[in-house]
Amino acid sequence: MAIRRAEALASRLPPLLVAAERVAATVAQGVHGRRRVGQGDSFWQFRRFVAGDPVNRVDWRQSAKSSQPAPTGWFVRETEWEAAQTVCLWRDTSASMHWRRGGPVEKQERADLLALALAALLLRGGERILPMIAGAKPVAGRFGLERFAADLGAWQDPAGLPPDLPLPRHATAVLIGDFLSPLPEIQTVIGRLAATPVRGYLLQVLDPAEAALPFQGRIRFRGLENDGEALIPRVESIRDDYAGALRAQQAGLAAICAAAGFGFGVHLTDGSPEAALLTLYAALGAV
């Protein structure tokens, strides 16, 4: 079900092309056109035969059409060089994600949808997906999405931050979560990733109620991850202060991401997931 929704969402965007900075060392060969001659399946161009070319690469049909004597009339068929990028996906499954007040769905559900949609897009573009779970293997192809969805279903990580895993160098990481943890913890994780080196994108998914604090009156707030409680006598009076604190958190996140070469975005669950996916699309293209 979630896969179908994600695929439907992804089908509205053209296949996503992840630009890789480093080509030779890190990118495995795949079905990803590099706009130049190389190994691949797609036709790229015909070229006149040059002495030294293996005879078995001559395209005899094209050569016959040229009606010129051999070997000047011979043509060699060249294919496009195709390569694949590895994208590491992580999404937050901690208790704080299972919450909904102002939005239509829980944050967790939206994060799942975005992760799956992104995976569907990337897989269609020929990229490989690596779930950031211990022992996970990269997946590719159409059936890779099924496997990724199965992984996603079984993926329960109470920690609110990505685990410390050995990632392929120069891979791209996409992190989806609410990122309400203290900034130093996040700094540690992002710094570790940046040192691998891995570039990527960090998407903060928030409920509208978390952004606006629409409560009134005397309220006792309880956290979802055993982080205590707070009795606010008059919630509407601290709304502006809360907005400031949230802005500070997001500014901190943006600073951390910028320093590590990561992109950063915020998505509210009452916004459309297509918009978020577009943001990710644009951001991954830029990284």
């Binding site: 704080s96 994600m97 919450w99 944050k107 609410d178 309400l180 203290p182 409920d207 978390e210 409560f215 009134q216 009156g217 005397r218 309220i219 006792r220 707030f221 309880r222 956290g223 979802l224 991850e225 982080d227 205590g228 409680e229 707070a230 009795l231 606010i232 006598p233 008059r234 919630v235 009076s237 601290i238 202060d241 809360y242 604190a245 949230l246 958190q249």
Partner: protein, 891 residues
């Protein structure tokens, strides 16, 4: 306002404690989960939600508590002053007919008095001054606790007869209780015994008089009946200003036919007004009613005396008098019959009963007993109308009972040997009773008898010809009147009896006659319906006894003779309260009495219940406010009750449903009582109607369930009748309805549902049908062949299958030309309805036997043929001859 339990008010002192208790309890916070709690932890609210209860909520709760305390102290409004004395309270109430208009107020005032007595802990006694239904003189009840007396007070009703003040005075004189406080609720109507009654009243103890109603007491007197109108009279206690009162003339079904306003001048005791009504409307009047508060005195019942105008008819030749178009009484009886009672007979028989009008058509009155009897009758007030004729023209001129002296013989206008032409009628003179009637130009008089000219002739003429000769003359004789038409009562001498004018003239004349007063004899008439205290006709009370017919004018109303209708249905006589009332006089005030106005007297109003209600409402508001403060009630109602319209997927209803069976053609099935069979019949007819609508231009609406004898079957061309084995026999009404239906061209398709391939599916239905059909007029039958119209009414059919097939179908053997050669019954057992039936999904739920789509199609085609047969009759009968015609053409 007083408090019945003032010590409860001491609890108000506890309110400050309550205030303190309420103040120290802050509202409990609401709990919410929040993921971004860490961001909140460092924040501090700049302003506090008040931890204490807000002052207005506190005030709300304290008010509610104070209201409960005050309510428990039982505050009472309008308690009135305490009654003097310390003995029992004696309540004297006039409950004669005059007390009915303000009765509710009186009872309220009495209840107020009892409230006062109850608060003072005094006993009370009751004296109603009118005799009760059994005719017992008024008595004072023993002093009893107030709650017991309340029940007696509630049972008290105004009676339709006058107070018995003398009896009440006697009862009062026997009352000896020291310290009595007497309260008198009078009806302010004086009678001869009132002074003695007032004295006795004053002697009982300290007296309070609660008096009187604002509207004066009125009674409707029996109306005077005049020739063309009824004069209604009303008696009233004289007042110092002019008052107006409306009188309604009502028919037996309660319709008000006329309304007249009587202006009663200042100081007058009796006033009257005329109610003009056409005589036929006047004859339907049963009562006159005073508009306003009802009482027995505001109703006058009208009996036969006010409306009966029986007309006696006599002709010169009684044997041929009724011959159609020629008889002398033919036109008269037809003209008078619809508007009154018309009698014929000889003079002794006619005059032996009450008679308002006597009509003699060409009947000379030679001296003798007949003439004497008629003369006597006219002098007593009868109206004699005579018509001229050949016999009268030849008779001795002076027979006495004629308005004018007649010349011998008759005058002929027009004719073979005459130059003159038949004369028309002149316009009626303004003083003639016929004034205003239009004279049709075509009325012509060709022969007439002539009056001897004289000075008095013009004054006696009510109608004349264009040449001035009198046509209708009249004279008064004693209290009565004689009217002569100078022409015959049939069309021999003029065509007047053929015109509508004749009718109008006779009705005017009849209206002129006095109503017939009942002949006073000593026959005792039993009370049939009597008026109660509010002027409503009810069953007579037990003590009511019969009254001699000649005593009605003189008998006063009493428990033994309550006002109302007496006698058998055919001869009702009314005894009216107004007949014996005469002028009404106001009662003087009782000396030494303290007077309280009746208008201000009312029962006490306890304020406790409304206060408690208010307190509960406040507490409910407090509950809502508390919930809102705790955040349990959102100010914004997010999920207001959404009305979910469950659109049931209605089965595609191809057939139109029209409530009125006359508006659309439709089939019907006779209800058997077996739910399953009825369901199949209905579904089958729906399927067949759909099929017919698709295939032909006939438009059939939803089929109906028919219950013979209950449903009007005349709208249904075809009835389907499935027979069930346990069908009950038809009632005579059902049999008659079905026979009537068949005899008038209806067709019944009778289905025993067990023949041919389906034998044994419905055992016993054939026997059931034989049992049922015994009363039905089913003709001799024959199997349907391919030559029968039924087999070619639309499709050409060779067999007629339904769900089953195989056995023949039976129709009437002999062609009945009267019924268009259409058989009234079609009898078979192929269970056609099951073959036709469609369910909601449009499928055929019942498999045909032996089976195959062709059998289904043939079943529908047979049904269509039957419908066509029912709708078009033998229209396709000609096709029977087509093979022969084709053969002939071929040759």
């Amino acid at each position: 306002m007083i408090f019945a339990a003032p010590w409860v008010l001491a609890a108000l002192a506890g309110l400050p404690v309550l205030w303190w208790l309420l103040r120290v309890t802050p509202p409990a916070p609401r709990t919410e989960t929040f993921p971004a709690l860490r961001l909140l932890l460092g924040l501090r609210a700049t302003e506090e939600t008040p931890a204490r209860t807000p002052w207005w909520l506190l005030a709300l709760r304290l008010t509610a508590a104070a209201l409960v305390i005050v309510a428990l102290a039982r505050p009472i409004l309008d308690a009135g002053t305490a009654l003097p004395g310390d003995g029992p309270v004696l309540l004297v109430i006039d409950n004669g007919w005059a007390s009915a208009p303000g009765w509710q107020k009186r009872i309220q005032a009495a209840a107020g008095v009892l409230d006062r007595a109850e608060r003072a802990g005094r006993k009370a006694a009751l004296l109603a001054t009118a005799p009760d239904e059994a005719g017992m003189a008024p008595t004072i009840s023993a002093p009893m606790p107030v709650p017991d007396l309340r029940a007696r007070l509630a049972a008290l009703r105004p009676e339709p007869w006058p107070d018995d003040r003398a009896g009440a005075a006697a009862a009062l004189r026997s009352w000896h209780q020291p310290g009595t406080s007497t309260v008198y609720l009078g009806d302010a109507l004086a009678d001869s015994a009132f002074p003695a009654f007032a004295d006795a009243l004053a002697a009982t103890g300290s007296l309070t008089s609660i008096c009187c109603d604002a509207t004066p007491i009125r009674a409707l007197l029996p109306p005077a009946s005049e020739a063309d109108r009824l004069v209604a009279r009303v008696a009233q206690v004289p007042v110092s200003t002019e008052t107006q009162v409306a009188v309604l003339a009502q028919a037996g079904d309660g319709r008000t036919l006329a309304r007249a306003t009587i202006a009663v001048p200042a100081g007058a005791a009796i006033a009257s007004t005329a109610i003009a009504l056409p005589s036929e409307l006047r004859n339907t009047l049963t009562r006159l009613v005073l508009d306003g508060p009802a009482s027995a005195g505001s109703v006058v019942l009208l009996d036969e005396r006010w409306r009966r105008r029986p007309v006696g008819l006599m002709a010169g030749d009684q044997t041929s008098a009724d011959a159609p178009f020629a008889g002398e009484l033919y036109y008269l009886s037809r003209a008078l019959g619809p508007y009154g009672e018309v009698r014929t007979g000889d003079v002794s028989a006619l005059l032996g009963r009450d008679l308002a009008v006597m009509v003699l058509a060409d009947r000379p009155l030679p001296a003798g007993p007949e003439r004497e009897a008629l003369t006597k009758w006219v002098e007593k007030g009868g109206l004699l109308i005579r018509f001229a004729g050949p016999r009268m023209a030849e008779a001795e001129a002076a027979d006495g009972l004629l308005p004018v002296k007649l010349l011998g013989g008759d005058r002929q206008l027009g004719g073979a040997l005459s130059w003159s032409e038949p004369a028309g009628l002149a316009q009626f003179a303004p003083d003639s009773p016929f004034a205003g009637l239009t004279v049709p130009a075509e009325v012509r008089v060709s022969r007439q008898v002539l009056a001897e000219p004289g000075a008095g002739l013009p004054a006696r003429t009510w109608a004349a010809l264009t040449d001035g000769t009198p046509l209708v003359t009249q004279v008064s004789l004693g209290a009565g009147r004689i009217v002569l038409f100078h022409v015959t009562a049939n069309a021999d001498w003029s065509n007047l009896p053929l015109s509508g004018l004749f009718l109008d003239m006779l009705r005017r004349l009849t209206a002129l006659s006095a109503g017939v007063a009942s002949k006073g004899d000593a026959t005792v008439l039993a009370p049939a319906e009597t008026l109660d205290g509010y002027g409503v006709l009810t069953a007579p009370p037990r003590a009511a006894t019969g009254l001699a017919a000649n005593a009605f004018a003189t008998t006063p109303v009493s428990p033994a003779h309550p006002p109302g209708l007496y006698g058998p249905e055919s001869n009702r006589q009314a005894l009216n309260l107004g007949a014996a009332v005469g002028a009404l006089a106001p009662a003087p005030s009782v000396s030494g009495a303290k007077v309280e106005p009746l208008a201000e007297a009312r029962g006490q109003t306890p304020l406790g219940p409304p206060l408690v209600t208010l307190a509960v409402l406040l507490l409910l508001a407090d509950l809502l406010v508390s919930l809102a403060l705790r955040g349990l009630v959102r100010g914004r109602v997010t999920g207001s009750a959404a009305l979910v319209l469950l659109l049931f997927a209605m089965p595609a209803q191809a057939l139109e449903t029209v409530a009125n069976p006359a508006l659309a053609t439709r089939l019907g099935y006779i209800v058997t009582g077996d739910e399953r069979v009825d369901g199949i019949a209905k579904a089958g007819l729906i399927g067949l109607s759909d099929f017919v609508n698709r295939r032909t231009s006939a438009t059939l609406a939803m089929p109906d369930a028919i219950q013979p004898g209950v449903t009007d079957m005349s709208f249904y061309p075809l009835l389907y009748w499935p027979i069930v084995a346990d069908a009950p026999p038809l009632t005579p009404a059902q049999t008659a309805a079905l026979n009537d239906y068949m005899s008038r061209g209806g067709i019944i398709l009778i289905d025993t549902r067990d023949s041919g391939s389906g034998a044994g599916f419905a055992p016993g239905t054939e026997n059931a049908f034989r049992r049922i059909a015994q009363g039905l007029s089913i003709p001799a039958l024959t199997p349907v062949t391919t030559a029968h119209v039924l087999s070619r009414a639309f499709y050409l059919l060779t067999d007629f299958p339904g769900r089953f097939t195989g056995d023949p179908v039976w129709v009437q053997r002999d062609q009945d030309r009267a019924n268009d050669s259409v058989s009234p019954v079609i009898i078979g057992g192929n269970d056609w309805a099951a073959a036709w039936a469609v369910d909601n999904a449009g499928q055929n739920p019942y498999a045909v036997i032996p089976g195959g789509q062709r059998q289904r199609v043939m079943a529908y085609r047979f049904g269509l043929n039957v419908v066509m047969y029912a709708l078009t009759g033998n229209y396709k009968g000609d096709q029977v001859h087509v093979p022969a015609i084709l053969q002939r053409l071929g040759q």
